[in-house]
């Protein structure tokens, strides 16, 4: 069985054929576009299921079709057939063997599952794992890169940078209701249950940009609780992490200074943090390096000035029910604020 599984291209091709290539297998958020060893194990197990189950279904369909072709369509109802003990004896034997075969197939898959789950959990022993804390909020993801030195802890949101080929250990917790962290290209989902902090492990095998999203219904904006995982070469990742540890740069131009003043004197400061300034709110995402992110509003819109302006003025239009209020800034104030936020790289 392992030998079959090792022929990755074969299984990949089979899966693609099975999916009729309706929109191709290489999506951004896809169970079968694997980018890590766990997802790969699951994809193999799934392909095994798909092949065996398809065969079983075709056999049942053939039997059903035979029954259908045996049917008469006459209007007259025939008298019932008499008892036929010898036929029943034969049928008992046939049905009995089919049940036996079913049981054997089920046991094979039970063992398959056992080995896939065991190899996936082996990662939990890795002492060099990168430790990231994920806290679910309605409706965004708080991300903390843990470090023994408290001042080295990096806080960000909705965008998770990870190095390739290193075990990632996620500490999952929730600040409000149950959420579920799901990055299908790497590993199955895990629920963030308030009162039950938990751990999960995965590894990325290639650099790239992948999407994930909340998989447990968590209220009005469950649909817009997405995140991005950016996998990078370890050196590039270390560079990114070092940049993130820096405080936000001070505003240089007058426009930027005015922007910072707007931030500090309106409702922004009540919920958001910018490291190195007086803003220390913990209700909303940390904005220290917001300009370095690719998406805003938990993966709902690309991070461009236009979208950011729209989001600040009327977040309820993009994500109705989101906890961020609408704002009434003068155009000048808004332009200055955007100018300032753009410096937070």
């Amino acid at each position: 069985m392992r030998k079959v599984f090792q022929q990755r291209s074969v299984t990949r091709a089979l899966t693609c054929i099975a999916l009729l290539r309706v929109s191709g297998c290489r999506g951004k958020q896809n169970v079968l576009d694997v980018a890590g060893p766990q997802a790969e194990g699951v994809a193999h197990l799934w392909t095994g299921f798909l092949i065996v189950m398809s065969i079983i279904w075709v056999l049942v369909a053939i039997a059903t079709a035979r029954a259908a072709f045996k049917c008469t369509t006459q209007k007259l109802i025939e008298p019932p057939l008499p008892h036929n003990p010898s036929q029943n004896k034969f049928l008992t034997w046939v049905v009995g063997s089919l049940v036996g075969v079913t049981t054997i197939i089920l046991f094979a898959f039970l063992f398959g599952e056992f080995f896939v789950a065991r190899s996936a959990s082996a990662m939990s022993q890795d002492v060099n794992a990168l430790n990231i804390k994920i806290i679910g909020h309605q409706w965004w993801w708080e991300v903390q890169y843990m470090d023994a030195v408290a001042s080295n802890i990096v806080m960000t949101a909705n965008e998770i940078h990870i190095p390739t080929d290193r075990t990632i250990q996620l500490q999952l917790d929730s600040a409000d209701v149950i959420h579920s962290f799901w990055a299908p290209n790497f590993e199955g989902k895990k629920d963030l249950v308030p009162g039950h902090p938990t751990l999960m492990w995965f590894k990325a095998s290639r650099p790239g940009s992948f999407r994930g999203q909340c998989a447990e219904f968590c209220g009005m904006q469950h649909a817009h609780m997405r995140f991005v995982i950016l996998t990078e070469e370890p050196s590039k990742f270390e560079q990114w992490l070092a940049d993130q540890r820096k405080s936000a740069p001070d505003p240089k131009t007058d426009e930027q200074k005015r922007g910072q003043h707007v931030f500090m004197t309106t409702t922004c400061i009540m919920c958001h943090s910018i490291q190195g300034t007086d803003a220390g709110g913990l209700v909303g995402p940390n904005l220290t390096h917001v300009a370095s992110r690719t998406m805003i509003a938990a993966g709902s819109r690309p991070n461009t000035v236009g979208h950011l302006a729209g989001w600040i003025m009327d977040p309820q239009k993009i994500k109705p029910g989101v906890l961020m209020p609408q704002h009434t800034l003068t155009p000048q104030d808004l332009r200055a604020l955007l100018e300032y936020l753009e410096t937070l790289k």
Partner: protein, 672 residues
Amino acid sequence: MTTPAVEHVNQLPGEQVDPQAHHELDRTWTPAHGFIGWLVDTNQKHIGMRYIVTAMIFFGLAGLLALAMRIQLAFPENNFLSADKYNQFFTVHGMTMMFLFAVPIMEGFGLYLVSLMIGTRNVAFPRLNAFGYYMYVFGGIFLFTMLFLNTGPDVGWFAYTPLSGPQYSPGKRADTWSQMITLTEISALVGATVTICTAFKQRAPGMTLNRIPIFVWAEVITSFMIIFAMPAVMLASGLLAMDRLVHVNTHFFNPAEGGDVLLYQHTFWFFGHPEVYIIFIPATGFVSEIVQTFSRRRIFGYTALVLSLIATAFIGFGLWVHHMFATPIPLLGRLFFTGSSMLIAIPSGIQIFCWLATLLTGKPQLKTPLLFVLGFILLFVMGGLTGIMQAAVSVDRQLHDTFFVVAHFHYVLIGGAVFPLFAAMYYWFPKWTGRMLNEKIGIWNFILLFIGFNLTFFPMHILGLQGMTRRVYTYVPETGWGNNNLLATIGAFIIGLSVLVFLVNVIVSRKRGEIAGPNPWGAPGLEWSTTSPPPTYNFLYVPTVDGRAALWDQTKDTPVIVGLSHDKREVLTTTLLDARPDHRYELAIDSIWPFVLAIITSGCFIAAIFTPWAIPVAAVLAFIVLGLWFWRGNEPKFLVERLKATPGAPPPEVQRTFAAPNIVAQLKPGQT
């Protein structure tokens, strides 16, 4: 239900119609006329048919909600429904399909058919039965009223805490969920109790435990599952209601106060998984009956089929954790539930093999009911196989809460229960109305449903693998989910069309359908030995049974039972195992009190959303009404007078007694 113009003639082969007996029984058993008569009615066929018609109305309403959701999802970032409306719609769709359609309609079929299939005149506890229906319909009206008032629950049909708790769901929406659940579950428990007692104590003499029709077995097993599963969800909804209720504010599910949100999930899914089998097992009962009739051969593997149903019911209680594979629970525990989830494929497999064996060795006749059953086999097996995939924890953690699961359980519930349900409608419609449903329209109904269903739900498998999660009101275009969603939406409208075709068929055939006669399919069940539609008292004489296929095994000498009173609502009770005549039992007459009690009880649940004082007040009122309910001799005159013995009728041959069977019932040989 009004009956079309088909003559009530008892057409047991060779039997002389006894107009005097018919007149007396009719007088005793027919409910009073008019609206009041409708409210006090306790006839099981009328109650059963009300369940079926009401459940089909809710099926239509929930289907309309589904169409609205499909329009919203047809295109990325569509604006047909707001997030708020969508969340209410998917919650109410799920609640309605589970609590107001699937379970009640299966119980409704049971309440209508079980007494006919086992050869008795009414169900045990007819007043309780009426009470159950009113509870159900009040629960349904309550839910949809709240939805129209924009107070429909928006926390999912599972209403996970803490999202449904007081902190994250202020307002009354989640209360609507918890009270409506408790209301309708009372109705389910009532129906289950009635079904079990009827099937165990009122079977026709000779119908020993191993001769009960498989559909009756299915209803009995389902009823036992209801009795064990429903209290779990009532516990969950009750504790949630207490957490939310003003002035009570317990903290069962509040982690900040030491409560536990996983406790809620365990109690919910301990009900939630058996619920699937509560819906599916009666459907397999339909399939067994229909396969047997149209294969023109006795069902192969009767014992194996019944034992499979019992095994399904037992194992069904041991795999609720597979709904919680993504929660923080220990790995070893999860593997146990993987094993048990795979195990349940074995009894389901046995049933499929037995049905196919029966069809392949019989002389099958292709009528609409069998067509739906063949469709059922293809779709249910597919849903079952994708279910086995999800039994594996690691695969499930990828597929859980995605559209793959949506596809899977619609294959199991529509393929596995709605297709058999349509088969059963086509099969028993002649018995209910005396007229056949149109076969040609039936074929179109099937083709549209089959195509529409696959077009809707097959693409959802792929959407799930592409990462589309459930319960999202919209998605961004970059995901590439647009095409498959559009296909699904088109399919959903084809399903809607096929349901319309069915509705047209029912309306047309009720007035103009071919006259059915007592047994149009040449079926073996006892229900086919009486007229179509059956008289209010079901059988002129209580039949006796010689074998599993009652009418096929009948001989010229099969006796019938005489000696039950004509001026009392008497039924013959028999022993549990061997169905030997035991004693005559007089059922209560029609009464308004079940209706009044249902108003008080449901009023209590609804008022308790606003004030806890509703509970003590309603308790006192309910106590008074129950007193009146059980107080014999206070029934209004117009109900009692209907039962007065007709002048000239012979006095009852024996008094009501617990004595030996030969005193109670006289066998009248040669009457068939």
